[in-house]
Amino acid sequence: MTERRPRIGVLVFPGSNDDGDAAWALTALGAEPQLVWHAEPELPPVDAVVLPGGFSYGDYLRAGAIARFAPALSAVTEFALEGGPVLGICNGFQILCEAGLLPGVLRPNASLSFVCRDVSLVVEPAETLFTARCEPGQTLVIPVKHGDGCYQAPAGLPAAQVVLRYAPGENPNGSDDDIAGVINAEGNVLGLMPHPEHAVDTLLGSGDGSLILAALVDAARERSYARA
């Protein structure tokens, strides 16, 4: 029996530009991605959601500030509050912070320069569904490409909610405590600045991003069986 291909929604905002790569990567990792236009008031039947990278609404006002009022985002919020797995990558991370689904906020890089390069990340010890295929302390090489990636943590952010940090000396944006990825207290919503969807094929450099995306596919598959 072949494994079920779980359906994963990939949101598309005006200005998203990594939706195609995210869909490609999810397909390569055994899922069936479904693009969801921002104006849709409801999600199709999906078992996980990805908010991809890009520049939704031109990053006007603040990155992610306008996207959070998109009808589809209300549906994503509902999905997240019911425990559905949600992954926000780069602009998706910014949107989740602005929407209050994740703590903190992303600000312009301390250097004021756009950064685009591979970075080394360290997987923190917290066990999460998104890092279920990683070892604690494992180093992942995944590219970043952003202008607004300086994560500002709220006071008292529990260490257990920090899932990924830039390796020592690798912080590309001035982020607080080298934070590269954070998860909500419930453990089903993760946001990260690096782009795992650009690192799923060693032909293009690193395949480390597939560890995170495949874990999301695992969680979606489990959910799809539970739902059936």
Binding site: L61, A65, I66, P108, N109, A110, S111, L112, Q152, G174
Partner: protein, 81 residues
């Protein structure tokens, strides 16, 4: 009614734009310090009076125009309260 919203980075928040502006001004020979860069939003608000307009604009600031984690805001309205 005309409303003007001033949004500023909160004190203590790193403001790389302000730092860059300050460096550039110093290079031009202006002995300035502590430059901060915010933004201005001008609006036309449909409200019966100034108090109502202020309440409306405060709601706009809290929900969209400013992020309370990192920004403070001030509202100026034409006319008196």
């Amino acid at each position: 009614m005309r409303a003007t919203v001033l949004v500023r980075p909160k004190g203590g928040i790193l403001d790389p734009q302000g730092e860059a502006v300050e460096r550039a001004l110093r290079q031009l020979g202006f002995p300035v310090g502590d430059a901060r860069v915010g933004r201005v939003i001008d609006l036309e608000v449909d409200a019966a009076n100034v108090a109502e307009a202020r309440a409306e604009v405060e709601k706009m600031c809290d929900s969209l125009l400013a992020n309370p984690l990192i920004e403070s805001y001030e509202i100026e309205l034409e006319g008196r309260e």
